[in-house]
Symmetry: C2
Subunit: 241 residues, 2 copies
DNA sequence: CGCATCTTCGGGGTTTACCCCAGCCAATTG
DNA sequence: CAATTGGCTGGGGTAAACCCCGAAGATGCG
């Protein structure tokens, strides 16, 4: 059995490695990589059965690395490691795992037992999702609360601080369309408008950013990515999530 | 020499403990606690020379724990451990360390050598600040870019999604005063107004939240704290930072 | 096909956020 | 002392954000 560990933090790699050699005795060494690009290259060569991927990494994120690897080697068992229960990542992960592929998703504050459990599950063909993430997954599948990609685009834009006008220009829409997206976004995030809810007055725009961040719909590093994309002279058109 | 380690993550405690027993041989055992309250209680009993404190912990944050401990035992050498280079924390830390007290501030992605170095420095009466934080500190001391507490209050409020009116009510100010605070806040964050900067149109309010978060002036967990404070039926008056 | 959902877009409104200008008071500071 | 700075107040304005209404095209589904 071949195992790969991909994480940019040496400390986390060692922790995981120790955990694995104890619980999965094997004559094969455990291979390590410390960024996404390396991971993809190495995976192509050694074709691991099981691969642990950190999400937050330089060069190429764990999500993108997983995408590349699963495309060529759909049989690979993937276990994502993350510090956050961010919905952004779950959204993305859901899209790239092949319908019958298996994967695990464990938070880094998981107990050692949970990590081993996740690894065993994936190896035997099951999925293992961290308990704390279960409800996040549910929410992404609930029509009433999950965001459409149109709404998500708008969310990202206001979180970056763009005006309606700027968003319209950027996404090739009228301002009305933008406001329409925002309106349904606010509704789904449960943010009261002017009339409703007497006590609580909100600036919906900022409130939406706050709520969305708390729910893990967006996070700072994702936003920074978008920010730099926008600065690339508005190329590539509206992006997909 | 007595050493204490305070961290809610078992993994980080073990890493640090191993590091310390290797580099600081001592007949004394290394004491551990896993939240702020425990840390304070234990510190009172054993009066450690050196204490490592994680910032993000349940019950009582590392900052608050440090405050309590330094008040009773100002001689204690404190080394803060943090995942972030957030300016919020530096602001707070600066206020609670006694003028002649020593402390270290290391990020968790620091190398083993750096941690040992920080520990040695603090033990010998020096401060040790993580390189990545140096410029943050500088910024907090630069009059032109550092926020006053008035501006900071306003920042927190808009980040929570409050309207000018709601902020005014909350802080016992007129709306004009709030807008005045916001205006200078935007200026210090370098956010262009309507007239200036032709290409880039910004919703200053949201943009301020984004920029402030990126600079570590605010972060989600701090905001959540404020949010719950606000829900406590507006007690305690405007808070200080 | 009818039906539902998502999305865009129009007209025509109110409120909020931001703009410029000026003055006043308190606390520092040279 | 005068000078400066930070903070609050006021008047009076513009533009952006949000409100309700309805309509129409695209898509997918039973």
């Amino acid at each position: 059995m071949t195992i790969m560990i991909v994480d940019d933090e040496e400390r986390d790699r060692m922790w995981l490695k120790n955990l694995l050699v104890e619980n999965f005795p094997s004559d094969q060494p455990i291979h390590e990589a410390h960024d996404g690009q390396q991971a993809v290259d190495m995976a192509m060569k050694i074709k691991p059965n099981l691969i642990f991927l950190d999400i937050k990494m330089p060069q190429l994120s764990g999500i993108k690395a997983a995408e590349a690897i699963l495309q060529k080697l759909p049989e690979t068992g993937v276990v994502m490691l993350s510090n956050f229960s961010d919905e952004v990542y779950v959204r993305q992960l859901w899209k790239i795992v092949p319908p019958n592929g298996v994967f695990g998703y464990v938070l880094k504050n998981a107990s050692n037992e949970q990590v081993v459990e996740a690894a065993r599950a994936v190896l035997s063909g099951d999925c293992w999702i961290h308990p704390g993430i279960a409800r996040v997954i549910q929410r992404t599948q609930n029509r009433a609360t999950s965001l459409t990609s149109a709404e998500y685009e708008a969310l990202v834009c206001i979180a970056l601080g763009m005006t309606d006008h700027a968003i319209a220009k950027r996404l090739y829409l009228t301002e009305k369309a933008v406001q329409s997206r925002l309106k349904s976004l606010y509704a789904k995030l449960g943010i009261p408008g002017r009339g409703e809810s007497h006590e609580s007055e909100f600036n919906q725009r900022c409130r939406a950013c706050y709520v969305a961040t708390r729910r893990g719909l967006i996070n700072q590093s994702e936003l920074d990515d978008w920010e730099s994309k926008l600065e690339e002279k508005k190329q590539g058109g509206p992006a997909q999530v």
